[in-house]
Symmetry: C2
Subunit: 337 residues, 2 copies
């Protein structure tokens, strides 16, 4: 059987904002998988802010992409045919399948996904997977929230932020979410049980933080960096923790640099600022997923999925993460489940 | 017996650079100490970058000073007369005696100093005291340097930096010191055994760090903040540690703010950035001082003292810490030993 692959490859490294010229669409006929190989059909492709980090010219926590290489992307799919002893046709798998419909691989780095009774397939990215691992590891293993503490989460209506905030609520904290539209704020407060929310586009972040955090901030889960980080730093309590999951304001280098006023608070307030990347903590996945599944079944945690149709839409869909028009986990439906 | 006190009081909170108008000289006749009180004559007053932090209008890790209050300062002195059961005339003590010749106190916060055979009195500030505690706690308890690692220290010819760098050398690290004159660099390399030094006023910090740290930087002991911190961040290794002892570039607020280019490295390199203040770690002093005294006796660690004569010189002497004209520990000799 013949498979026609469709894929987005790197045409230019990104400088500043993403641009259609960064990508090129290609089609190719794939050979049959050889002995030891497996052919995967992608179903859902995850779009994440870190996709932009991968597109620069410099190596980051993963090597820089090469021109002509398929765009890197985490996806889940099904095994279409297998010449690999560990995989069978029909297996559900996830891994760095890339921005393409099919992948032929020797299976290195591929994870078999369990069938979760009662959960849609998208839960593997909305509640579990790299999103759930990032939210749980960052909030619990680094942040260590204690009952009664005040926790602030930025990009709180994003995939990671919305879970991280709910986890802190489950741990008995006051949780203030920062987001960019009234709709997002309403969702966080009414459906996700956030204590308070701040629409940073309509309110003064500094003033609203002071109002909602009268006892200061003990723990900040940062997805944004820049001006937001700077403002929060100055309202942290002594010995506060800043968990840096991402800095989306910094990914598009032009015009996003910020003159920091309050880094000195790191010393005077004896803050701990810790960056992390979930790939380092795969050993922690079982701990995280057991909690997250349990909380979901108890009705304590929710997630939202936004699905965009078709691999062809991927470059334009990715922009939604940077212009604030997305809520929850953003996915591309590459093919039918 | 009558004692005429001389003191510097706060005339204006500092904004931007320090200015003679920040201080006012006063003299006063002191009463006899009452029951439960002790009268101390100051001998050596310690001048530290953090003095500037204390002079702002806002509370920091200590409350802001009030107008008319004696300038805060750590000093060592002798008990002249005591009505306090724990102190006797002649005892050597240290504490927040302030920028003044005499202090009458109930003894709260005062420490009795041991007589160290073979050490000059100034060793209590040059090698031990808050300087030794800061260097040892920051480098060992937070930084945890491992043999073979590459360690960078800024303000390396300062009191804390010079000890911190030597401690990392004792632990088997490659230590690169950043300082602002060739004389300081020569002292660090020839007398204190630093692996390499960088005169940041004559060399490109970025280029010299790349040359002297071909394997990247594992641990950065920061006394400076701002541009220096930003440049070092970008050459840190994955999972590196940044110990923030101070940010002297940020204390004089005007003109010292920096547009950070490389804070995103906190995420992509999974860095840990930790601020601290030695006052929180007094319990650790015995551990630190035992090591430091031992290393000194074995000839493994050195310190330098710069003594300026007379309390009247204090405001102008303090400027030496900010214009880079001081090496090692800066002290005012308030009265004879």
């Amino acid at each position: 059987m013949e498979f026609t692959n469709q894929k987005w490859v790197v045409a230019q490294h990104a400088q500043g904002h993403l641009h259609p010229d960064n990508y090129q669409w290609q089609e190719e006929i794939l050979p049959e998988p050889q002995k030891g190989q497996v052919l995967i059909r992608s179903i859902y492709l995850s779009l994440d802010p870190t996709n932009r980090v991968w597109m620069g010219e410099e190596d980051t926590y993963l090597p820089a992409l090469k021109i002509g290489e398929v765009m890197r992307g985490l996806a889940l799919g099904r095994v279409e045919s297998s010449q690999h002893p560990s995989f069978q046709a029909g297996d559900l798998v996830s891994g760095l399948i890339g921005w393409q419909k099919y992948l032929i691989t020797d299976g290195v780095g591929l994870s078999k996904l369990p069938l979760l009774a009662g959960f849609p397939l998208t839960a593997h990215f909305g509640l579990l997977g790299h999103i759930g691992l990032t939210a749980h590891y960052g909030m619990i293993a680094i942040g260590n929230p204690q009952p009664g503490e005040t926790v602030v989460v930025s990009a709180a209506a994003g995939a990671v932020g919305s879970l991280a905030g709910q986890i802190a609520r489950i741990k008995g904290c006051q949780v203030i979410g920062i987001a960019g539209t009234d709709e997002k704020c309403e969702w966080l407060k009414k459906e996700l049980n956030f204590t308070e929310t701040i629409n940073y586009r309509k309110e003064s972040l500094q003033t609203s933080l002071a109002e909602y955090c009268p006892n200061g901030i003990d723990l900040y889960f940062d997805n944004v960096g820049g001006q937001t980080l700077d403002t929060v730093l100055h309202q942290m309590n002594n010995f506060g923790r800043v968990v840096v999951s991402g800095m989306i304001s910094q990914y598009n280098a032009d015009g996003s640099k910020h003159i920091f006023e309050h880094l000195l608070d790191i010393v005077t307030k004896r803050l701990m600022v810790k960056g992390f990347v979930c790939l380092d903590h795969m050993y922690y996945a079982e701990t995280a997923f057991t909690d997250l599944l349990g909380w979901w079944q108890e009705g304590k945690i929710r997630y939202r999925i936004e699905v965009i149709e078709g691999l062809a839409s991927t470059p334009s869909a990715l922009l939604k993460l940077f212009n604030g028009s997305n809520t929850g986990k953003l996915l591309i439906r590459v093919s039918d489940e």
